[in-house]
């Protein structure tokens, strides 16, 4: 079974051809193009314009790289939400057109769940707690009582959003995470930042304000970056551990662009080892927003009998993780 997965919830548009190989995901091609604003944050309509321009070339490239003919596709899956409305509508339109043209079924996929499913299918994690950290999303998700539940999440901004806003203020290129990680590696002095954990929820906006204030007061950039990482990652690791204790699970899976950070990976791995558990990290391109995770989740849902007519493919900007009926587990 071959599925074309199309992703476009935020700054990235992606397309991938994925095959089902005895229940494991085989990613045959996975093309990602990121919209990088010249200044300021992501303007939803401008990002959508970028996606509208690039979605067709990206799909063509994914199909060409997979060395298949479009007629060989059995299924089209797309990111139905959550995300930026104009972006979601753009890729949904592309997916619908393709599904009608090729006369194959279409499936709308929840973006957050796709991060979890691609991790399960490529890392060997069976029943993990997912720590999903990206620009817009910061959530702790796991399968519990028949659904994917959000056990903890950010009460204000996503962690990636904190890093990007901080970066924008002080001239780090977008996305700021990789540069910030390099600077942090040269820092060593831990500066006090507001550690905010309530139960299994976290909040980051106080840290952003405090960090910006520190830089304007003349603190070293390297030390501030180091402190941002140490404090925010400790918060995330702590709530992940709480979720593990609460659900009695021993595996952790990382997802989202920020999970490419080496320090975060190490902290989570140290924590799971201390508990006698195991942590799993998908390869970099599968951590980012990508079409492969959408395509794979589409396959999983299709095999479980999920069917959608075009009228069911309306996008949902606030598509909650626990709205999805998980019929495949």
């Amino acid at each position: 079974m071959l599925c074309l997965g199309i992703e476009g919830t935020a700054h990235s548009v992606g397309a991938a051809v994925v095959a089902d190989e005895k229940g494991r995901a085989k990613v045959i091609s996975n093309i990602i193009e990121m919209y990088r604003p010249q200044d300021g944050g992501i303007h939803p309509r401008e990002a959508a314009n970028h996606h509208a321009e690039r979605v067709v070339p990206v799909i063509r490239q994914a199909i060409a790289q997979a060395k298949i003919d479009p007629s060989e596709l059995d299924l089209v899956a797309f990111s139905q939400g959550p995300g930026l409305g104009p972006c979601l509508r753009t890729v949904a339109t592309a997916a619908r057109a393709l599904s009608v043209k090729l006369d194959v079924p279409i499936i709308g996929v929840n973006h957050c769940i796709a991060h979890l499913e691609i991790g399960r299918a490529t890392t060997g994690a069976k029943d993990p707690v997912l720590l999903y950290v990206s620009g817009g999303n910061t959530q702790v998700i796991t399968f519990f009582e028949k659904r994917y539940r959000v056990l903890g999440e950010t009460m204000d901004i996503g962690l990636g959003n904190l890093l990007d806003k901080f970066g924008r203020e002080f001239g780090l290129p977008f996305p700021a995470g990789p540069t910030l990680e390099k600077k942090a590696a040269r820092g060593s002095k831990l500066i006090d930042l507001p550690y905010s954990v309530k139960g299994m929820d976290v909040s980051f906006s106080g840290i952003l304000t405090a960090a910006e204030h520190l830089i304007t007061k003349g603190a070293s950039m390297e030390d501030v970056c180091f402190s941002i990482q140490e404090v925010t990652f400790a918060m995330l690791t702590e709530v992940t551990e709480r979720a593990m204790a609460y659900t009695k699970k021993s595996e952790v899976l990382l997802g989202g662009g920020v999970a490419q950070n080496g320090r975060l990976k190490k902290m989570v791995d140290d924590m799971t080892r201390e508990r006698g558990g195991k942590s799993f990290v998908p390869e970099g391109r599968l951590l980012q927003d990508n079409g492969a995770m959408i395509g794979w989740t589409g396959i999983v849902m299709h095999k479980a009998g999920v069917k959608m007519a075009v009228k069911d493919t309306v996008i949902n900007q606030r598509y909650r993780t626990d709205e999805v009926e998980v019929v495949w587990r």
């Binding site: 831990l190 709480r242 204790a245 140290d270």
Partner: protein, 210 residues
């Protein structure tokens, strides 16, 4: 801590941040709560969090007693080691007692839970985790343990959330309809708590899963 050898104590519970032991200490049956160091995080953060939380929990336990709520007596606090030594309370978790009780007994129990929570809130103490395992029934009386997520607050919101957690916990064991007994006890003890009770509905409405 003098004369306390935690390595020989019996573990009775392991949470995400602490280990709970029971042992004998100076001729008494005690519970020891030890917040274990977490190697994954920076040592300064680790020390600050564990010490701050140990201090905060000990303070809340003592203040709750002053407010007229049954909590374990604290015998010793070691900030450096992040341990609290407290009275061992013979009792059953509330959730278990509720499960084996008949409806009239359940109502009596939940009304006294409401009264006790009202005493906490009147003193601006928030428990932070009012779930079935953190309340013990001992000789028919409600005992509060584990103030690990507790705070001091004057806010109606924090008090409302505190009760909402209890409401959710009752829902999980299919006793949601008995939550009104908690409210009855709460208002009987503290008539000014009506703002808090009114807020619970609002909090439930904006809840994540509604």
């Amino acid at each position: 801590m003098m004369g306390l050898d935690i390595s020989k104590a019996k573990i009775i519970g392991i949470g995400a941040e602490a280990r709970i032991y029971s042992t004998n200490w100076r001729g008494r049956c005690v519970v020891v709560k030890h917040r274990v160091p977490k190697g994954y995080r920076h040592k300064d953060i680790d020390d600050r969090l564990r010490q701050g939380r140990t201090k905060g929990e000990a303070r809340l336990l003592a203040l709750a007693r002053d407010a007229g709520v049954r909590t374990p007596i604290i015998y010793d606090v070691d900030i450096k080691e992040c341990t609290i030594v407290m009275e061992f309370i013979e009792g059953e978790p509330l959730v278990k007692v509720l499960e084996i009780s008949k409806v009239p007994e359940r109502k009596v129990l939940l009304r006294s839970v409401g009264q006790a929570v009202a005493r906490l809130h009147r003193a601006d103490l928030i428990h932070g985790d009012l779930t079935g395992a953190n309340m013990l029934v001992s000789d028919g009386l409600i005992q509060f343990v584990d103030f690990g997520l507790g705070i001091q607050s004057v806010e109606v919101e924090d008090k409302g959330v505190d009760l909402h957690v209890l409401q959710e916990a009752l829902k999980a064991v299919n006793m949601e309809d008995l939550f009104k007994e908690v409210e009855t006890g709460y208002l009987k003890e503290w008539s000014s708590g009506k703002d808090v009770v009114a807020r619970i509905k609002e909090i439930a409405m904006r809840g994540r899963y509604n």
